[in-house]
Symmetry: C2
Subunit: 370 residues, 2 copies
Amino acid sequence: MEKLTPPTRLLLGPGPSNVSQRVLDAMHLPLIGHLDPAFLEIMDSVQVQLRKLFGTQNSFTLPLSATGSAGMEACFVNLLEAGDRVVVGVNGVFGTRMCEVARRCGAEVTAVEAEWGTPLDPAKMLAAIESTQPQVVAFVHAETSTGVCQPVEEITRGAKAAGALTILDCVTSLAGIPLHIDEWQVDAVYSGTQKCLSCPPGLSPVSFSPQALERVAQRKTPVQSWYLDTSLLGSYYGGGKRAYHHTAPISAIYAIYEGLRIVEEEGMDSRSERHYKAAEALIAGLEPLGLSPLVEKKFRLPMLTTVQLPEALQGDPEAALRGKLLKEFNIEVGGGLGALAGKVWRIGLMGENAKLEKVEQLISVLRKVL
Amino acid sequence: MEKLTPPTRLLLGPGPSNVSQRVLDAMHLPLIGHLDPAFLEIMDSVQVQLRKLFGTQNSFTLPLSATGSAGMEACFVNLLEAGDRVVVGVNGVFGTRMCEVARRCGAEVTAVEAEWGTPLDPAKMLAAIESTQPQVVAFVHAETSTGVCQPVEEITRGAKAAGALTILDCVTSLAGIPLHIDEWQVDAVYSGTQKCLSCPPGLSPVSFSPQALERVAQRKTPVQSWYLDTSLLGSYYGGGKRAYHHTAPISAIYAIYEGLRIVEEEGMDSRSERHYKAAEALIAGLEPLGLSPLVEKKFRLPMLTTVQLPEALQGDPEAALRGKLLKEFNIEVGGGLGALAGKVWRIGLMGENAKLEKVEQLISVLRKVL
């Protein structure tokens, strides 16, 4: 095996984003044991800070030892039992994936669709809730496949009024824009570390409300995943005896600790403003080049902008151009998924990369190659 | 949040073990995207090298994006369907956990028990296979809770002859002693990175035989875990198009790459010999102090030695002494689990730590405190 020499890239795709030097330095620290009192203190701080970022008092708030997709799975496998009904909003890849994960729990899934690039229609969600009386209502806050930011409260309020628990995907929104999951009445939320937290991928911050945990406690059947069972995870992360469940990924926890520390220093309001300003500058720079945003302004995510390519660039030329950006200029941008493949780019300005100089770097290269 | 300053410890428990400077340096490298051709090359090398370490030609050999416990879950959820029968060898925590995971798949579990600290009796396993005609037979190669190394082939040969697939836990054995899973007729195997590979915890190397994948392809029901479904994982790790499934944990893959590179440089024979020599020295140093091995010599793991404490040290004094070792001498050793709690220590000499100087460091401290 040869010496490891990865290239240095500017990561402007849908994640991972670039990691700050401070986070890399944290991962360079020597390991300690996962039951070492010194490590448990670090974990406690991570949990405290994640609660702030999610906007929650939920005691059960922790970084799951797997990526964001496992966070999604954790929410569904804990809250659903075979035969339960679930209403899922579907306007992109991650809503589609939610349906698949819910079906694997034996649930009856009602998918409420909206065109990719547009938000879910709350009225349609509420009508489906009304007609199916589901145990769970799930949708995506920040659709990484389209760049849509979904207004949350009208849907969650309706779901809770109908007695359902609510699941929200905040993979791309956490640490980029303020979250208020308690105020929003969200019962289970999951995220990732490789987006606006600017840490490496590998952990999934999650939070479960007391009502969600109560539902788990009253299950008739065991949670189908041992690894993701909240009642077992609580024995390690829940304070008190800190019993062994699995071995927490020490270095990844160091990384998220430092990532959270950077967020705390900056403050979430400034950080969010920085994300909005960078997105604005990006769009202002792209429009003269013939690249226009897919999503209506009101529903645009600041950390992920989906832009439509001119017809001449769609299909094979799109892939070639993206390859050229990567190979010749060391800049990664994301392609489209599903029906949007070959037609759009997804440009991420997340965490460390939500800065005007990164926008300028991209725009100046695009001016050359377009 | 305060600056992160974990203490420097000598990690002689059941894992994590200390990580070499080279592995820490690898994690310090800048991130690239999980679909970047440069990253896919790194992943390819990791997969090639893992095949060598497992002793397999299995194409489906990869580092799962979660810890070893998720590797266990991956083996069971892919190979079992509700109503299937499984025979599990139980002589420690991890055999017990296998039963729990298998039950969550809806399987009928036949547990074949042996006293903790002793190996499974192949004749009893074969009798259970004969009488229940199971779809799957599962047991642990290296029981991290007791230090027993289980002879594999008599059981796997019997299982295969009866038409069952075989699952083997190699969490603690991989990269410490040679594995030959093809020769041993093992169909699904899982491991961890934080033991003899001396990488941080967070990945689970797994390998599935073609026959195991064939069983997955013929399932009547979908795999209950989307995250761990081998047919979906194959689309990213399987070569060819490298489709997005989940975001691979870049920095952890850098770490395992370097960990595997170190193993390749040393050679598995020398590495294994180093583990045996260190264990021998450990036992020679402990016996004059009144600490004797729990496991009969023939069945002892070299990387994890379970020693019985004199009666006067059992119970509360055991925990106090272990705490003193950690706090005053920065040495971590593991306590006992289950019925062995308070009665034994588990001393790991894994990967980086399987060296005579580490043994001497521990023994000289124990001479002081005992």
